[in-house]
């Protein structure tokens, strides 16, 4: 026995300890399930055992959840009937947890069972909480850092080991919804308040031992196993419950725009389960859980949002032989919005930061950004005054470049002008240590060109943040032609320190993310010029799972930024530049001073406070609404192909080296249809053959920008998927 061990003491308490070797936090595996089952059988069968306590051998945590690879394996192992394999596997899990819940009691009299308590030293997530929910009482430690919840929904599935059914029966549909639908994790106090756990104790194992030795038969009977059970808040056809359930469907549908399969399946499991007894409800939960796992979306989401995201964060693409490059002192050049944000997240990670701007006042303004941010945190009770002082103490706002002399990383975030950047590079390189890495936060200028100003181009790199820095999870690292491995390692180690997700790409116009985002926005504005209703365009994107539509995004990022990028691209590309009506539109908007949210006028009208009022109808003076509006699907495909074809071209051209980065990056940087797992995963879901055929149709109808890339054509002919052809794990092996 390795993952679960059973010890029995003289008082008759059997202690089952979960302690997966080699892991800092327990995760459930097939072996684990089998071992746990054996332990339970042993303890239940042993007359000397009076009660059972399940705990963890890990300090500060019980378990992080299911080994998500296990779900893929259950599916694989079932051969040509994966649904059966998943359903049977899930039902087996239910069988085990139900065995714990009923604890050997007589099913009629509900007597004679052995008390089983869970003693959680800390964090319990996913099946790490579903297992305790099946016990008779949950004791948690007073560890303030511990979090409890069921976050499965965030990776495209839902709690499928009875967590859905038990939590709804415990808390009611409304009470359970923040945990099930939002994957909310809460601390011990809130978990107890919500009724997820029963008691907080300094020594949960001792408290649990005590409890099992004194528990009565009635203490072992779950409300849903007792006679006359009524669901809190009402079941679906109870008058109060009816309104809740009607509202739940509408709310989930409206909020998720119908783009995500798992909330739908979760709701069905809740609804259908609420209409029957507990054991049938578990079976229903298992069927919907299987349904979600059979949907390609869940596999793609788990792969991108969990497995590959984590792999990239842990350094999957980091140069192997470079020693630890963690940053001790960071220099940030430019205290504007980006620089201020970079200073904030770096100080948050405990780094010393020198925040530079042309004069003290400008530098102080940048630092004040952190102060405002922390004050908000204090107001919400998330930040202590001490923490604020400590963090502000880490930021040295100054116009004095000499202060940079002992920095080991510089991030330049000055005005997007090559000459200004070159001058700063030279000035700063004269001051900083020779081994200091110099990074530019440019979003549009090629790194190789900027590196020309550097005397150490192998130490020059791009670290591209997204705005607002403190909210966006992705950082795009760009290797210039001469960028060396230590610079890459430095950037990656830094990103790891600030707990964001990195991707590493090669240098090319707009790198990877903006390369995809810009044609997406262009396609949207092009449609406006064709007379497509702006609402239809934004709604089409939202129904694909994008958090905001591209027209609204145009107002958020500002229209003069779009014209600036357009002009720069035009200048750089010369005759090769594909001019379009979309350019005329943004120039016209710019001339009218409708620059977006910042000017309180753009594609939308705004009130004085900057609140969006509605689409600006004046746009139709120049571009009248078409009488016949296109099909939603056509609008969606134009928006999708505009992005994914750029992603494919970036891969073809070697800008992307790893499809995992293309997928994770797209979802995190610009909210690319998260349910799909990213552009490559999306193409795999629809199939290369279909995609190539659609490219041809879209090209015929709308132009060459939809021309099928050779790589995609080849894959269509061979019937390949990206994750087969570019299998990242095979490459790593």
């Amino acid at each position: 026995m390795a993952e679960f061990t059973l010890t029995k003491d003289a008082d008759g308490v059997a202690l089952i300890t979960w302690d997966v070797p080699g892991k800092t936090m327990n995760v459930m595996s097939i072996t684990g399930l089998a071992e746990l089952s054996d332990c339970i059988d042993d303890a239940l069968a042993d007359d000397a055992v009076k009660g059972i306590v399940i705990t963890s051998g890990k300090d500060g945590s019980f378990a992080g959840g299911m080994d998500l690879n296990l779900l893929a394996k259950m599916k694989e192992d079932a051969g040509d009937n994966p649904a059966q394999g998943l359903f049977d596997g899930t039902m087996q899990m239910h069988g085990l947890l139900r065995k714990i819940e009923l604890a050997g009691m007589d099913r009629k009299t509900k007597k004679g069972g052995k008390p089983i308590a869970a003693a959680l030293p800390g964090t319990a997530a996913g099946i790490g909480l579903e297992l305790p929910l099946a016990t008779h009482r949950i004791f948690v430690s007073d560890n303030p850092k511990a979090k409890y919840g069921l976050p499965e929904i965030l990776v495209g599935i839902f709690p499928g080991a009875g967590g859905t059914t038990r939590l709804v029966r415990k808390l009611g549909a409304i009470g359970a919804s923040p945990f099930l639908l939002e994957g909310k994790m809460v601390d011990a106090k809130k978990a107890k308040g919500a009724g997820i756990v029963d008691e907080i104790a300094a020594d949960p194992v001792a408290a649990a031992r005590d409890w099992v030795l004194n528990a009565k038969d009635a203490d072992l009977v779950k409300p849903w196993d007792a006679k006359g059970y009524k669901m809190p808040g009402g079941a679906p056809y109870h008058p109060a419950g009816f309104m809740n359930f009607v509202g739940a469907s509408a709310m989930v549908h409206g909020k998720t725009k119908g783009a995500f399969p798992s909330p739908k399946a979760l709701l069905s499991a809740v609804y259908e389960g609420a209409l029957v007894d507990f054991d049938n409800a578990l079976k229903i939960e298992a069927r919907w859980f299987t349904h979600v796992l059979m949907n390609p979306s869940s596999g793609a989401m788990i792969r991108s949002l969990f497995l590959n995201k984590e792999a990239l964060e842990k350094g999957a693409v980091r140069p192997k032989d470079v020693p630890d490059q963690r940053v001790k002192k960071l220099g940030v050049l430019g205290a504007g919005m980006m620089g201020a944000g970079i200073a904030l997240v770096s100080a948050q990670a405990g780094m010393q930061v020198v925040l530079i701007d042309r004069d003290q006042e400008a530098a102080d303004r940048g630092k004040a950004y952190t102060e405002t941010y922390l004050d908000k945190g204090i107001k919400r009770g998330k930040v202590s005054a001490d923490k604020k002082d400590a963090m502000l103490g880490l930021i040295n706002a100054t116009p004095d470049l000499e202060q940079l002399k002992d920095c080991d990383l510089i991030i330049e975030a000055v005005f997007e002008d090559p000459a200004v950047k070159a001058e700063m590079t030279k000035k700063v390189e004269a001051i900083i240590p020779e081994d200091c890495i110099f990074a530019s936060n440019t979003s549009t200028l090629p790194i190789t060109g900027l590196a020309e100003a550097s005397v150490r181009p192998e130490q020059f790199i791009g670290i591209h943040f997204f705005s607002p820095v403190e909210k966006m999870f992705l950082v795009e690292i760009i290797k210039g032609k001469e960028t060396g491995p230590r610079a890459v390692a430095k950037a990656l180690d830094y990103v790891r320190q600030i707990r964001k997700t990195p991707i590493v790409v090669n240098d090319a116009r707009f790198f990877y993310c903006n390369r995809c985002i810009i044609p997406y926005g262009n396609e949207a504005t092009r449609m406006v010029t064709e007379g497509v209703a702006p609402a239809l365009i934004d709604h089409a994107a939202q129904q694909l799972g994008f958090p905001v539509g591209p027209i609204q995004l145009g107002d958020e990022t500002s229209i003069d930024l779009a014209t600036k990028i357009m002009r720069a691209t035009k200048a750089a590309m010369g005759n090769a530049y594909p001019a379009s009506e979309a350019d005329d539109l943004i120039v016209w908007m710019e001339d009218k001073g409708r620059l977006g949210r910042k000017s309180k006028a753009g594609y939308f009208d705004y009130d004085e406070k900057g609140k969006r009022l509605g689409y600006w109808k004046g746009i139709h003076d120049k571009y009248p609404l078409a009488d016949e509006q296109p099909d939603l699907i056509e609008v969606q495909e134009r928006l999708m192909f505009a992005q994914v074809l750029e992603a494919v071209r970036a891969l073809e051209e070697g800008v992307l080296e790893d499809i995992r980065e293309g997928d994770v990056g797209a979802v995190l940087a610009w909210g690319f249809a998260p349910w799909s797992g990213g552009p490559f995963a999306w193409l795999d879901i629809i199939g290369a053959e279909y995609a190539a055929a659609r490219c041809d149709e879209l090209t015929a109808k709308f132009g060459d920008r939809f021309a099928c890339p050779a790589l995609l054509r080849d894959m269509a002919e061979k019937g390949e998927t990206f994750y087969e052809r570019f299998d990242p794990e095979a490459k790593a092996a």
Partner: protein, 403 residues
């Protein structure tokens, strides 16, 4: 083929569907039986005079449950050899009862039927029978379910009807209903509801507010804005189905939507031989019937496609119809009908409609067929069409032709 004729049509007055409504003390069973008895008495229906009683009713639970049709037959003075069929096609249940009966007669399944329906909305709350379409996520999400009021507001948004358009229609409905009562135009159809001692309880529609004007309606808040825009946010669901709309324009309120009332109605339908046998004169023939399914989200546009269908199926055009009854479930439903067919409002709901007098769900379909027939006779016109929008996206229609 055998023809199906209308020999008689009658209805109860409509009582306010709440505690202070006159019919609130009357059971669904009693009102149904009383309506059937009136039909029996007026037409001497002794013994097995009709093949069946087809009774429409939407909320078939509690006192309206358990096949109310059969209970009502047994509670009435009709012969026990007449069975009883309870049906539900939501707001068109009463019409569907008539259409089913007509088609049974046409097909030769018996000589005559009583068809109609009842709804005691103040006693058995609308929606209290549950509904999977509203609450089961598999179908609620597949159909982009929103409540009817939201659907009515989608119609207004999609087809460009303003709050003023809807309010004007409501004011006109009230004006026409009052004029009709003042002119005694419902006398042929409306029976007095009496108690077990023969004492009168109600003899006139009591929901009407003839003093209604644009100003008084203007003060009412939209009824569906809160549930649309805030909790639980049905507009977001509506916009998933109608993505070209920027937002939903909420124009409906209690004053331009149909009223919640209690009431019952019945129609006597038979073939030629039936009339001869009982010495009854046919008033009209049921020329055609139709039903159709439509988009369940916008839900209430059914009258347009079902009218297109019934006309096409019978080689008719809209100009062949002299008068229309289009159930005033919500103002936008009628506005859309008139817009789609470009028909003059003088021909539509001549004596007011459900906005003024109320909409007893299971009975209305039978009621408006009777109202249409009365008005065709009064104006000495030939052909009329009645139609209703129906929950979950359906439509039903009947064309009658005077003899």
């Amino acid at each position: 083929m055998t023809e199906a004729y209308i020999y008689d049509a009658l209805r109860t007055p409509r009582g306010k569907g709440r505690k202070d409504g006159s019919l609130h003390e009357v059971t669904s069973l009693r009102l149904s039986a009383l309506t059937l008895n009136a039909m029996k008495e007026r037409n001497n229906l002794e013994g097995h005079a009709v093949e069946d009683v087809i009774w429409g009713n939407v909320t078939q639970v509690m006192e309206q449950g358990g096949c109310l049709a059969r209970s009502a037959v047994l509670a009435s003075d009709l012969d026990e050899s007449i069975p009883g069929l309870a049906i539900n096609r939501f707001c068109a249940s009463g019409m569907e009862a008539v259409n089913l009966a007509a088609n049974q007669v046409k097909g030769g399944a018996g000589e005559a039927y009583i068809a109609g329906g009842v709804e005691m909305m103040g006693r058995v709350a609308m929606g209290s029978d549950g509904a999977a379409i509203a609450v089961d996520p598999t179908v609620a999400m597949k159909t982009y379910f929103v409540p009817q009021g939201i659907s009515a507001d989608i119609i207004a948004t999609e087809y460009g009807f303003s709050r003023a358009d809807a309010d004007a229609l409501a004011v006109e409905s009230q004006r026409r209903a009052k004029a009709a009562w003042d002119d005694n135009r419902f006398a042929k159809s409306v029976i007095t509801v009496t108690d077990q001692n023969g004492l009168a309880i109600l003899d006139k529609d009591e929901y009407m507010r003839p003093q209604t004007d644009m100003q008084s309606l203007g003060s009412l808040n939209p009824s569906f804005q809160m549930m649309g825009e805030q909790m639980p946010g049905f507009d977001a669901v509506a916009l998933l189905k109608y993505p070209h709309l920027e937002k939903i324009n909420h124009i409906h309120h209690a004053g331009n939507s149909s009223g919640i009332v209690d009431g019952a109605a019945a129609v006597l339908i038979g073939n030629k031989e039936f009339g001869e046998k009982h010495g009854l004169k046919p008033r009209a023939r049921i020329k055609a019937t139709a039903k159709i399914g439509t988009d369940p989200t916008i839900m209430l546009t059914g009258p347009v496609p079902v009218t297109e269908k019934i006309l096409a199926d019978n080689g008719m055009t809209i100009d062949d119809i002299d008068l229309f009854e289009v159930n005033e479930a919500f103002a936008s439903v009628v506005l859309r009908f008139m817009q789609a067919f470009d028909v003059d409002s003088d021909k539509v709901n001549v004596n007011g409609g459900s906005i003024a007098m109320g909409h007893p769900l299971g009975a209305t379909g039978a009621m408006i067929i009777g109202t249409l027939l009365d008005e065709l006779e009064r104006q000495d016109k030939q052909t009329g069409l009645a139609t209703l929008c129906i929950a979950s996206g359906m439509g039903a229609a009947t064309i009658i032709e005077r003899m």
